[in-house]
């Protein structure tokens, strides 16, 4: 992954698409992902998302591969747990412990679900300007003051990253071997140690930010103007229709085709 899930300006179809269309597409993907645990359907869904991002936004798997690698231990853990708690025929027996076939499939299905949703969110955040997200939410009826907070969160994510980096560097230059260690446990200890000063700094900063926002009229009750405008075009409608059709096809696939890797399948 390129480091962050922050917006990267571009001129692709997805970059130009209305944020409302992209939010609708995400919701459709989430509905499909959350309504099935069938691994074949989820693999197909993930493939659709990956190909969709490559074609419509020129986002290749290489740009989010690192993030996916981070999810793999979680998926393996989930699969192991499910294989131990689920019943049914065993896929394998290791040291007298049976690993359920249904559990393994369920764990892998949940993993694919995480992949599909994560890649989808990644694609959305790197192709959509935070202010467009706020504007889209406002257009669908969310009061601007709340809609703006989504944009605000994207602004302060890099600020927190910078602060964390500064604190870790400050610890390293004062002789803390943990803060520059590549060992995940040692590094984890440094991060835990860093959390309190980071939290304290964030609390102090949040008061200044609130003041700064108030000084520029954030809390004014009067009507607001919008410098940027968005419009829902034919291409946006086609995006939503296309995603809905693909989702329908996946659901039909779930109902019509027998589940794979089952007895007699």
């Amino acid at each position: 992954m390129s480091g962050t899930m922050l917006y990267q300006p571009g001129k692709t179809f997805l970059h130009r698409a209305d944020a409302r269309a992209k939010i609708a597409a995400i919701i459709v993907v989430l509905v499909v992902a959350l309504t099935t645990t069938r691994i074949d359907v989820l693999v197909a869904l993930t493939a659709v998302v990956v190909i969709g991002l490559a074609v419509l936004a020129r986002i290749t798997p290489a740009s989010y591969a690192k993030a996916l690698l981070l999810i793999i231990p979680l998926v393996l853990l989930l699969t192991l747990l499910q294989s131990l708690v689920q019943g049914g025929p065993a896929l394998a027996t290791i040291g007298g412990v049976s690993l359920s076939r249904a559990g393994v499939l369920l764990g892998l299905g949940i993993g694919m679900r995480l992949f599909a949703m994560g890649i989808c969110f990644y694609g959305f955040s790197v192709t959509t300007s935070p202010s467009d997200i706020a504007l889209a939410l406002h257009k669908v009826g969310v009061p601007y003051k709340f809609a703006y907070l989504t944009s605000f969160a994207f602004r302060f994510l890099p600020l927190l990253q910078d602060e964390a980096r500064t604190l870790l560097t400050a610890m390293a230059v004062r002789g803390s071997a943990e803060s520059s260690s590549r060992h995940p446990l040692r590094r984890g200890r440094a991060i835990v140690r860093m959390l309190f000063p980071m939290l304290a700094g964030s609390m102090k900063r949040s008061s200044d930010i609130a003041l700064s926002m108030e000084l520029r009229g954030y809390s004014l009750p009067g009507p607001r103007t919008f410098y940027r405008t968005t419009s829902f075009r034919t291409g946006d409608a086609l995006l939503v229709v296309g995603v809905v059709l693909l989702a329908a096809a996946l659901l039909v696939m779930q109902w019509q085709l027998p589940a794979p890797f089952t007895e007699g399948a």
Binding site: L6, Y7, P9, S129, P130, S131, S151, F152, F154, R155, P158, L159, D162, R205, D208, I209, L211, S212, M213, E214, L215, R216, G217, Y218, S219, L220, G222, P223, R224, T225, F226, Y227, R228
Partner: protein, 288 residues
Amino acid sequence: MTSPALAVTGLTVRYEGAERRALDEVGLVVAPGEILGILGPTGAGKSTLLQCLSGVIPHHEDNAAMRGEIEVFGRPLGDFAGLSEITETVGLVMQDPEVQLVNTVVREELVWGMENRGIPVPEIEKRLRRATDLFDIGGLLDRFTHALSGGEKQRVVVASVFCLSPRIMLLDEPTSELDPAGTEGVMDAIRVLADEGVTVIVVEHKIEELAVYADRLVAMRAGRIEAAGTPREVLMGPAAPDRPQVLDIALRLRERGHWDAELPLSVPAAVAGWQAMTHDPQSDRNHS
């Protein structure tokens, strides 16, 4: 008679648990269109004074007890409905630019305050053009705010407050992260604003800049105003917290009998003084 832009009487502030007053019976009158520079060491009360003048104390800071009178164009600050109404007249630029950049892209940052105030889009565009020209930030408009350098952030923050067209601008160390060229650019912009009638109060440690650009200076120490007057009066007086280096050099040269011209507050003035002293009328006659 026109009211002063700001009139302060007996302003006293004490922070909760503090041993001494942050401001102690401060009195001040600032004329419309004036650039007032505030000097003083750390802890002198400069930032607290700006916070009082902008209404941040008492409206936002609840750990400070304040008494005294502040009038903005003849209207007591206490008569304003709240911070939002005060900011229609008084714009404050705080020290840390990082906490004042609340949008992801510079263009959005500049227009955000105007959108909040419901300013029509054509007027927003007009002010945006003016701000980008005045603060030389045209090339930054599509950049991410988190990716700007410290100096660029400061210029964007000052410009975003300028876009709100306040009649009074309070600037707390607006050039602390700027290089000499950037500092000169911001100070030039401040001069332009003052010439157009905007009152500017600027807290700065760069004495050389204030000496050149400010109409008047105020020197503060331990919450009190120790001296006020023209830059020359304040910087030559005993209460000056520091002096421009060039003035110090000229004073030493004068002690040794090598400087007869007017004492300079800036390098160009020193060069002019030096040229005047070394000018040989005989050589001029020979050349002509």
